[in-house]
Symmetry: C2
Subunit: 329 residues, 2 copies
């Protein structure tokens, strides 16, 4: 029950989720003595659909991954992963330290057959709606086979969450032509072309926000840098607009008059609607909520985890991987 804001964000989100998704139940994992008093009348309202599972330890946001793995056997992260492994939960969701969550989840749940490396898939707003991008930072150096696996996992994710049958997959590169890019990317393009996926071909940086494809594939170094650069740019633009609008009485009046348009604009790119990154390739569903998520954002991540569970995403990825590896089958 972590994240920057703790239970005061996650609990209301869980309650809202339980009210809307009547087929779902939730197990809250954390220090029981801290969580129990916060439940109020939720026990009565949700009964067996809301349970509490004690975990005595917490992985700190800045804790090294190795320490989280070795020393925190009763961390909420570890307990959640165990619940998924035992089948007591269909999906895990955490707002904690991403590196530790990936390491713990991978250690407990293991990867799916055929998947060498799990990846982190996030959602970015585009001119047309939104797009999924992976990997966002789990894998720094990738081989062509890994990028192929990301393509398959990403396509299955979009199929599960958006119910699209053949989502388009683009490979992030520095030019649209086949001859461009590193050897790894060129070879990955060949593998993707032969994969049976709806492979669009190479896409460039500007294609991400154009929404050229449903899925954008890249290694975790590029994905992480692009994601953070985009967040930084959006923030800079937002702050500068605010500054200009608050410069004097005239600009403030202007801001007031412009409010309806600015609000509509903000709704369109409300990052809370894009919360919930999927840790793909694991033998179980794990969703990472942004640390600074508010109630709506955490609720969105819960919905995403629930839909992935309903659609049995890991089984879908595993069966698609089996197709992709006829020789190994």
């Amino acid at each position: 029950m972590g994240g920057d804001h703790g239970p005061k964000v996650t609990l209301p989100a869980v309650f809202e989720f339980l009210r809307r998704d009547k087929d779902c139940a939730t197990i809250l994992v954390g220090r029981e003595e801290a969580l129990r008093p916060l439940l109020g009348q939720a026990d009565e309202e949700f009964g067996e659909r809301l349970r509490l599972r004690h975990a005595s330890e917490v992985v700190a946001m800045d804790e090294p991954v190795a320490s989280a793995l070795r020393n925190k056997k009763d961390s909420s992260m570890r307990v959640v992963a165990n619940l998924v492994k035992e089948g007591a939960a269909d999906a895990a969701i955490s707002a904690g330290n991403t590196g530790a969550l990936m390491a713990v989840s991978r250690f407990v749940l293991k990867t799916l057959p055929g998947i060498d490396r799990p990846a982190i898939a996030g959602i970015l707003p585009t001119a047309k709606g939104y797009t999924y991008m992976l990997d966002l930072g789990a894998n720094v150096d990738c081989q062509p086979e890994h990028l192929l696996q990301f393509g398959i996992m990403g396509a299955m994710l979009v199929s599960a969450l958006d119910h699209k049958e053949r989502p388009s997959v683009g490979l992030l590169n520095i030019g649209e032509e086949d001859i461009k890019g590193s050897d790894v990317v060129k070879r990955a393009a060949e593998l993707l072309r032969d994969s049976g996926l709806n492979f669009y071909g190479n896409v460039e940086g500007n294609d991400i926000f154009k929404g050229t494809t449903d899925v954008v594939i890249c290694d975790g170094f590029v994905g992480n840098v692009v994601l953070k650069a985009s967040e930084g740019l959006a923030q800079m633009i937002g702050n500068s607009l605010k500054e200009e609008f608050s410069r004097n009485a005239f600009t403030k009046l202007g801001a007031l008059m412009a409010l309806p348009a600015i609000r509509a604009f903000k709704r369109r790119f409300d990052h809370r609607r894009y919360n919930g990154a999927s840790l793909l390739g694991l033998n179980g569903i794990v969703v990472k909520s942004h640390g600074s998520a508010d109630v709506l954002a955490f609720f969105t991540a819960l919905e995403r985890a629930a839909e992935a569970a309903r659609q049995r995403l890991p089984e879908k990825i595993a069966s698609r991987m089996a197709q992709a590896m006829p020789a190994a089958a």
Copy 2:
């Protein structure tokens, strides 16, 4: 005299440049029969400071680099590079095909001693002002030594153009900690730390637009993707704001009232003020103007090329490289 708009943009920019920089002269390179009639009274106004040099061929924007190199011996690009090589010009500026410009410049001018690979350095607006980033696409796969060379070239560029003595240099990575990132980046950090540069350490994607350092170093794949993604995001945000403001009479009135603030905002991030990417590491100054540059943007690129020439940038890079390689000296 290329670019998307041709001489109707480049000529007025050159005239303005000659009016402001009285110590400079310009040689226009292109088809004489096309350029001559456009000069009007410029001959009279600028006399010997404005010359024309015929070039019979043009490298197309989509022409393969190999073809530009092999078949276009009298392209304007080639002629310009030759003028720099012969010392007839102190700097070259082109709005043409970037890949061809780099290949032709490298072939004609050669690289500076100690520089394995020339790089493209561009300027990005930040919350604090602006930052220089390289490489933006010339080198897809980089070794640690190349990233070190980019650091040295970037620092010398900032020294020359902004007259900063010890510009700060950041290495783009996926975390601030030393243990993060690929092996290449980790090793590059060690080299940069021992280089005598004002090395800040690792920076993340969001640091680019925060303006954490004067220079941001990365390989050309990452740099190109980040640059294009940022352009795409800025465009998406701009278009969406426009759409929301033109939705109905009320939002249009709002836009009108907000105009002063929006104009101030636009001035702040006017991409024309950031035009003129430097092709660094060559034995001569070559500046690439954006293909879609307008008069102000092309003028900015001309000013940048002139200042690099006044500051003798290639000599500065060569002498700094000699320091960095005491063993080889």
